[in-house]
Amino acid sequence: MLRILYFAWLRDQLGCPGETLPLPQGVRSVQDLIDRLRARGGAYGEIFARPELIRVAVNHSFATVDAPVAANDEIAFFPPVTGG
């Protein structure tokens, strides 16, 4: 199963900390996943239409939108970090 996580204002706006789902057919990259999430419309449509606001991690490492996505991966979407 694919695990998707949302942090900070993404989670607030989506009203959801994450979800677990089977790898959707045809999804091979982070960009493919972003396109599927955007297609849901509503808050998902708004957020995933503006990928410049979002950072992505695949299995705990920062990734770009062309990174491959496989079944059982953990994909996290979040805004630029502000710790320290």
Binding site: A8, F78, P80, V81, T82, G83
Partner: protein, 154 residues
């Protein structure tokens, strides 16, 4: 061999105690550089709420610390980052770098803080005295500070 300690915790930390741990059973340390980040007030700020990505946070903090040890020849380093609600004046983060000489210890400390600011998955929400609350925006100067070190890789 250098010794790396990485922790994410709600509680505060004790720099004196953590420094003593970096010196234990070693005679090759000439200095320990340190930075303690503090919740700075102003504009009606009351507190910060710090959120993080468990698992990835520790992994990134360890990568940053190990990279600093290799790059600056540190004998050891420690990073402790707090999460949860922290009021104005409270400590947020502690970085300690031990080395044979002060230059490496202080440069290692700068390096770790710069990378933590831009690469460790923490997010801050500001809580103001009028009840308003908002997520902190990243600062361009933090990216610039990190860029001068090149890549993180060890």
């Amino acid at each position: 061999m250098s010794c790396v300690t990485v922790r994410v915790q709600a509680d505060t930390f004790d720099a004196t105690h953590e420094t003593a741990l970096l010196l234990r059973r070693r005679d090759d340390v000439g200095g320990v550089g340190a930075f303690t980040g503090i919740v700075r007030g102003g504009g009606g700020l009351v507190a910060l709420e710090l959120e993080h990505y468990p698992g990835m946070t520790e992994s990134m903090m360890r990568q940053i610390a190990e990279s600093a040890c290799t790059r600056f020849g540190l004998t050891g380093c420690t990073v402790i980052h707090r999460v949860g609600r922290l009021e104005v004046g409270m400590p947020i983060v502690l970085v300690l770098c031990a080395a044979a000489h002060r230059k490496a210890a202080l440069e290692g400390t700068e390096f770790m803080m710069d990378w933590l600011k831009t690469s460790a998955p923490f997010w801050k929400r500001e809580e103001f005295s009028n009840g308003r609350s908002e997520w902190v925006q990243p600062r361009a100067q933090d990216d610039a500070a990190t860029a001068r070190w090149g890549t993180l890789g060890t």
